[in-house]
Subunit: 139 residues, 2 copies
DNA sequence: CATAACCACTTAGCAACGCTAAGTATTCCC
DNA sequence: GGGAATACTTAGCGTTGCTAAGTGGTTATG
């Protein structure tokens, strides 16, 4: 398989999988972007808006809108930065933490159900692929 | 790494990579969905609307709108099925074929530039990951 | 220290794309 | 022939990308 074919197939496979995963979202659940942002803040936060937008690979205005939804839902706090009045610091609220913990299992269940049936070798491949994907994302 | 962590990380990596790839799209190029649909028809077509929508993991109305854009751009032909008047058959036009061939290299260039620098082992992982992703997508 | 340049966030408005619900045309089946 | 099922289309909504432009805080400079 050539690099060109690999690139092409990988890009399309990634896109289709994203659409497939979207199909599994329950109606009352957070959207993919919202859940991703909340997860980033939960595991690696707190962040300023710009920092979060760079993590999530969207522009600050796009990030701002997603954050607005999370703040309105009471899952995230937006507080002014102490040392720089221009910045805002985003932290996950207690409700947000609870929501994150409760939702994760259910939310990842569709994938987990399938991954648990994989061979150890397949799981190893997947784990390494995640690292490659992160590397690509941050390059 | 547990299955739960693997699932979670993989889902988020998939979403973020999709956003990262979107950032690389040039203004005059086909969108990700359009390019994916055109590619499916090019390599595996012709298909009816429903068949294509199942391939692309979207609903028929969503697919229809994307196909409309491709038809309007002259890249795809929508013709009535001979054996069943309800169905339409979607085929790639000659312009569409040329466009596909010309665009592919440029479009996949961003990924290919990076993949070409990978070790053979990393490329092997990627190729296997693609198979796993397809399996997940179709399950 | 006044002012310009810069930076961070926000607001406003556009386009792409998912979806569901409902409409039309065709085919299938009794 | 007539009702149910199927395939596509239309209409309309919500989310999520984007760019351009506005607001206010900080930094650098004469």
């Amino acid at each position: 398989m050539t690099v060109a074919e690999l690139s092409h197939d990988f890009r399309l496979a990634n896109g289709r999988l994203a659409r497939r995963l979207r199909q599994e979202k329950a109606d009352n659940e957070l959207s993919g972007s919202q859940f991703s942002a909340l997860g980033t803040l939960f595991f690696y936060g707190p962040f300023t808006l710009r920092e979060l937008s760079e993590h999530e690979k969207v522009t600050p205005p796009s990030m701002n809108r997603t954050v607005n939804a999370l703040v309105q839902a009471g899952l995230v706090n937006r507080t002014a930065s102490a040392d720089d009045g221009r910045k805002v610091v985003l932290t996950v609220t207690e409700i947000g933490r609870t929501m994150m913990r409760d939702t994760r299992k259910r939310r990842d269940a569709w994938l987990a159900q399938r991954i648990v049936k994989f061979t150890p070798e397949q799981r190893r491949v997947l784990a390494e692929a995640i690292e490659i994907m992160k590397e690509l994302t941050d390059s």
